[in-house]
């Protein structure tokens, strides 16, 4: 069903020098602590990370619950902030699809699509032949998922011992890790331009519309980078 050799090859990414464990763990420690302060019990906190496994979505849910938003409002706010997962999935899954593999693997393992696992897979997919990439991906996803759940549990129980400065210190780890990963991904003109323009336009659009800034900024930056890249290849 799942080839264990490739599964564990993916799973072991957590032990490598570019391991996402620290960054991912710290941000879910912060989430665990936040959920406890919001009144979640330990089961609800684990349940949340287990089922959602996307940090910005969990943050939006927490903020919405705090202001007493309706379920429809929570749905729309989360969907909007996590809509970035759509282009991330479309730009990853075609690299993993193989006719010999059952479709359920793709529909189940897409749950693992989050920044950390996605960036690791995008940077390493070529090391595995196409037929076995999905098992490699399931290994990476399972490893990062486990770290996220463990981080949530630690954060939940450690929240009483974390002071303000420690929480601020933990909060920078995630953006720093992803910024370094993104800089490391700048291997061709299209991707480099996408990253640079996205980093400029995302915050710029925040002045016009905080809710839509990531989607507007990302869409325009990505489209400009695409056309410049295509033009230069010709």
């Amino acid at each position: 069903m799942i080839n264990s050799k490739y599964f564990f090859q993916g799973f072991n990414c957590i032990k490598k020098f570019d391991s996402p464990a620290i960054a991912l763990g710290t941000c879910f420690i912060a989430i665990g602590s936040l959920l406890k302060n919001l009144g979640f019990n330990i089961q609800e906190s684990i349940f949340s990370t287990l089922l959602t496994y996307a940090l910005p979505g969990s943050l939006v849910m927490a903020e919405s619950l705090l202001v007493g938003a309706s379920l429809i409002n929570i749905f729309l706010a989360v969907w909007l902030v996590n809509a970035r997962l759509y282009p991330m999935t479309v730009s990853l899954m075609p690299l993993l699809m193989h006719e010999s593999q059952p479709k359920w693997k793709y529909y189940l393992s897409c749950h693992f699509i989050a920044v950390s696992a996605w960036l690791i897979m995008k940077n390493n997919y070529e090391v595995v032949n196409k037929k076995n990439r999905i098992d490699f991906w399931i290994g990476i996803g399972t490893a990062t998922w486990c770290v996220a759940i463990l981080g949530t549990i630690i954060g939940y129980y450690a929240s009483d011992y974390l002071n303000k400065d420690m929480m601020i210190g933990l909060a920078i780890v995630n953006p720093v890790y992803f910024s370094c990963m993104m800089v490391g991904s700048m291997k061709n003109l299209q991707v480099s331009l996408s990253i640079i323009l996205g980093a400029i336009l995302g915050p710029l659009f925040f002045f016009m519309s905080p809710e839509w800034s990531i989607l507007y900024g990302g869409f325009i930056a990505g489209t400009i980078a695409f056309f410049i890249g295509e033009f230069n290849v010709k």
């Binding site: 990853l92 920078i172 490391g184 996408s194 996205g198 990505g222």
Partner: protein
Amino acid sequence: MSSSIVLAILVTSFATYLSRFLGVVSSEKIKETSKWFRWFNCLAYSTLAALIARSIIFPAGALSEADYLIRIIVLIISILIFHITKRNLVYPTVFSAIMLAFLNSYFV
């Protein structure tokens, strides 16, 4: 478990899975060598960059309590460490947490 929290978690999970699910449906029709794939690749990287840049410049939660200039300085030094250490990700991430906690308690 209180029912409103469980419902909120279920709604959040559904809203999150929806984008992933629709992504797999679309992927079945997109070849990795096509222009569509390259376009979506650009969109994925640019939206991620937009999200990360926004989370540093206009952060929510604990990070918003750190000074804007301190956040930017820590980020730039961390990226430099990433380059100096031959793209090791552990050093810059550990450094960033210690540096920010220190600078924030010292200067603010």
